[in-house]
């Protein structure tokens, strides 16, 4: 009898846990199916670049008008650019239509909200970061030196996954605010360089 009542208690607890979860469900985002397809690291990086926009707050002045586009600029990293073009077509970030630009290191991505510097640009990073200093631009790199050099997010490719590290302090300097969710997923959260 004692054992049975324990089982009921356990069942009740399970139901309680589920009920509470269902309650909080309303606030949560819609569930997304996990696709069973193949992907390359560049495709995953492109998907991250698009998704990052939802987890960062830009200052009010970052968009000239309410219907101004969200500009994603890719410098170098040709393949990531191609993937991003395909992936972001027709999509929006925080209600803003997405525009994807492909630039060379010599072009200044002044209009951009997010700039991705490809891993093949080791020598150009410093220059681009200096140009962007103080502007509300989320700078994402693909370089071990990225975060120490001033980037806000940096991709880390481990054995079989693409992860990222984050520097909320660098974002704050540019007037951007990273959400706690973004920092929770980050493989590493770094203090100001």
């Amino acid at each position: 009898m004692r054992r049975r009542s324990r089982a009921w208690l356990a069942a009740g607890l399970l139901a309680l846990a589920g009920g509470a979860a269902a309650q909080s469900n309303a606030a949560a985002q819609a569930h997304v199916a996990t696709p069973a397809n193949a992907a390359t690291a560049d495709q995953v990086k492109a998907a991250y670049l698009y998704r990052f926009g939802a987890y960062v707050e830009w200052p009010p002045g970052a968009f000239a008008q309410p219907d101004a586009p969200f500009v994603l600029a890719v410098i170098g990293a040709e393949r990531v650019h191609t993937e991003l073009l395909a992936l972001a077509a027709g999509r929006t970030v925080q209600g803003h239509r997405v525009i994807v630009q492909h630039l060379t290191p010599r072009q200044t991505p002044i209009e951009a909200h997010l700039v991705f510097l490809g891993g093949d640009l080791r020598d150009d990073v410093a220059g681009v970061l200096t140009t962007l200093q103080g502007r509300p631009v989320l700078v994402v790199t693909d370089l071990i030196e990225g975060i120490p050099g001033g980037a806000m997010l940096n991709f880390v490719v481990t054995t079989d996954r693409v992860r990222f590290e984050a520097s909320p302090a660098a974002a704050e300097k540019a007037g951007l605010k990273m959400s706690s969710r973004l920092l929770t997923v980050a493989v590493r959260v770094v203090e100001a360089p």
Binding site: R3, R6, A7, A10, A11, L13, L14, A17, G18, A21, A22, Q23, S24, N25, A28, Q29, H31, V32, A33, T34, P35, A36, N37, A38, A39, T40, A41, Q43, V44, A46, A47, Y48, R51, Y55, R79, A86, R91, D142, E145, F155, V156, V157, T158, T159, D160, R161, V162, R163, F164, S180, R181, L182, L183, T184, V185, V187, R188, V189, V190, E191
Partner: protein, 643 residues
């Protein structure tokens, strides 16, 4: 390292897999058509993206959800959210394992029965390193320390895995895989403590060699575990308290298509050699792997390790084992319909023992050698039908060469579900406890049990049949039926016992598990095991022969609820029921574990862990009057990522 595969996007080995985040079954899902990828990748959350698998480094194929075997994958995230405080407790997450706790630090763990504190039909690997003791072909679970936060996943294969993994993988394989150093960057402090014990860990991960372009990442970590005494049912203390210190390191780096990893661990623990339940122990191991992924899609890996373990127990095992191992795996370029892997390896152990009150080994020191070659080919006969043929030849010092073949077939049905069937032969090769062993009992003149010079490998011929439901984001399930025919099982002649192969028999059973994602924040998963053993011993065998082959429940079920209560709070509840054990008789029990966690800030998580919530205590494996009661335990836990 980065983008290595993007440079060769057309090679067939670039098959990439996604991990199904949030699904209890989480395994790798196979790619069918790459065209849809773009659209659906953009819909993934950050968490899902961080779990997308993009390449695999070793030649050894990763266990996939569509493999023709009974495989359950415990993900690191599942462990992190569970009430587990140690590796054996984390193994309770696998519905295809039997995990019984004996006392403060010792466990009996098996799959498909034959569970015993000297359980010997399960192969356990940590990052490819075999951790069973050559003394008894089983695992000293109290000596295996892994920082739980470092575990990437644990692949639990029930049933024979002998062809890929080798002898001893008779009833199952537990493959513990730690995170690469790049996934453990920064500083983490993790501490949990309660009246029954504590675990305190610290980890630091950093980078090296950035300017030379080799992208090195490393981590170092240290853990201290303490366990208080357990108690018998009558309240008497059992002297099994102990402290254990563990340190670990890992470095990963790459150079073009070559990847390297260096993994090391050391530990020291126990209380005193006069305490059989918390003996003094220490050990260290160092492993290097070198893998190369070539642009033609082929790859190979070379792994070498050195492992030393010492256990000082004045009653049973007083020993020191030093093992050296080298192995090579290669996935060559093959026609598209074939996926071939072959490999070879050599392992050598020196086992040095000292006589104890009960156990003597003769010779006291013995060198043991194992070598193997294997070849496996997965053939895509038609689009839905895949057939896998494999053969391993493994030699050991006692019985020479053993043949370990397997034949598997998987058929994908129209609704994307699949059926599979497998026939395998596996052996459990003799260990020192079978051949070189003498058991003395004070008061008796000679040895009561003597190792048998004629003891040969125990053999299992196994048929399995499985069904895996269609893979989708909401509901996943898997069913496996198995039939094992055993011959030459370990059983000795009647007193004075000489160990021999005097038992045989069959086991039949079912393994079922599934998960249901009720909503984006709530998931239920459950598992069910049923086992029917029919074992026999020769008339001349000792009376306890069949009972000595394991004390197993006829059934076991588990149910787990994983829920997010708002953005910062998670609640996980796990209930498991184990039916009665026959000999010694142990009553059925139901245990409920709970973990309530609060993400106080992005960097800090606080949690309350309760094990055995509704139960003041129960025995899990030994006769209740003499067994440690596994008590209700409460822990407070903190995980803090330091900026």
């Amino acid at each position: 390292m980065r983008n290595t595969q993007s440079e060769h996007p057309t090679t067939p080995r670039r098959t990439v897999r996604f991990t199904a985040l949030g699904l209890g079954l989480a395994g790798a899902l196979h790619a069918a058509c790459a065209q849809q990828t773009f659209a659906s990748l953009a819909d993934l959350s950050l968490e899902d993206l961080s779990n997308v698998r993009v390449t695999s480094v070793t030649g050894r194929p990763e266990v996939a959800q569509d493999a023709a075997a009974s495989i359950f994958v415990i993900r690191g995230e599942d462990i992190r959210r569970s009430a587990a405080t140690s590796l054996p407790e984390a193994l309770r997450l696998a519905p295809n394992l039997q995990v019984a706790r004996l006392n403060a630090g010792q466990y009996a763990i098996s799959a498909r029965g034959f569970n015993d504190s000297i359980g010997n039909k399960l192969l356990v690997l940590i990052d490819g390193r075999i951790v069973y003791s050559p003394l008894f072909s089983g695992v000293f679970w109290d000596a295996q320390g892994v920082m739980l936060e470092d575990i990437e996943r644990i692949e639990v294969i029930s049933g024979p895995g002998a062809t890929l993994w080798g002898a001893n993988a008779v009833n199952g394989v537990i493959n513990i895989i730690s995170k690469p150093a790049g996934d453990t960057q920064g500083t983490l402090v993790s501490a949990l403590a309660g009246p029954d014990g504590s675990v305190v860990s610290g980890r630091y991960g950093g980078t090296f060699g950035g300017s030379s372009g080799s992208d090195g990442r490393f981590r170092v970590d240290a853990t201290r575990r303490t366990r208080d005494n357990t108690q018998l049912r009558n309240g008497r203390e059992v002297a099994d308290a102990g402290t254990k210190d563990e340190i670990g390191m890992r470095a990963d780096w790459s150079d073009g298509s070559d990847r390297y990893a260096l993994i090391g661990n050391a530990y020291q623990g126990g209380r005193s050699s006069a305490r059989n339940l918390a003996p003094e122990m220490s050990g260290a191991n160092l492993q290097g792997t070198w893998g190369r992924q070539l642009s033609d899609g082929s790859n190979w890996s070379l792994r070498a390790y050195f492992d030393q373990a010492r256990r000082e127990d004045d009653f049973v095992y007083h020993e020191r084992t030093r093992t050296t191992s080298v192995e090579f795996d290669h996935v060559p370029v093959t026609p598209a319909a074939h996926k071939v892997i072959w490999g070879a390896g050599y392992r050598r152990s020196r086992s040095q023992t000292d006589p104890t009150l009960f156990f003597h080994f003769e010779p006291a020191t013995r060198d043991l050698n194992w070598s193997h070659v294997f070849l496996q080919d997965e053939i895509r006969v038609s689009d839905p039908l895949r057939v896998t043929l494999g053969l391993k030849l493994e030699s050991n010092s006692y019985t020479g060469v053993e043949r370990l073949p397997t034949l598997r077939a998987a058929y994908r049905l129209a609704d994307n579900s699949s059926v599979w069937a497998a026939l395998s032969r596996a052996v459990r090769a003799p260990a020192r406890l079978d051949r070189d062993f003498f058991l003395f009992i004070p008061g008796f003149p000679g040895p009561v049990i003597t190792g048998g010079p004629n003891f040969v490998s125990e053999v299992a011929n196994v048929a399995e049949f499985g069904y895996r439901g269609p893979t989708n984001a909401t509901l996943n399930y898997s069913l496996t039926a198995f039939h094992h025919e055993y011959d030459k099982l370990r059983a000795g002649h009647a007193a004075p016992t000489t160990i021999d192969n005097l038992a045989w028999g069959t086991t039949n059973g079912l393994e079922a598990w599934g998960s249901w994602r009720v909503s984006s924040v709530w998931q239920l998963s459950g598992g069910l095991l049923a086992l029917n053993k029919s074992l026999h011993a020769a008339a001349s065998a000792a009376l306890s022969s069949v009972a000595n082959l394991g004390n197993d429940p006829k059934s076991q079920w588990s149910l787990r609820s994983t829920s997010d209560l708002g953005r910062q709070v998670t609640l996980d509840v796990a209930v498991r029921h184990v039916s009665a054990l026959p000999q010694p008789a142990v009553p059925a029990y139901t245990a409920t574990d709970l973990r309530l966690a609060w993400q106080a800030s992005p960097l800090m998580e606080l949690a309350l862990i309760v094990q055995n919530l509704f139960d003041p205590g129960h025995a899990e494996f030994q006769a209740p009057a003499a067994a440690s009661e596994i008590p209700r335990s409460v822990f407070l836990s903190m995980r803090w990522r330091v900026l």
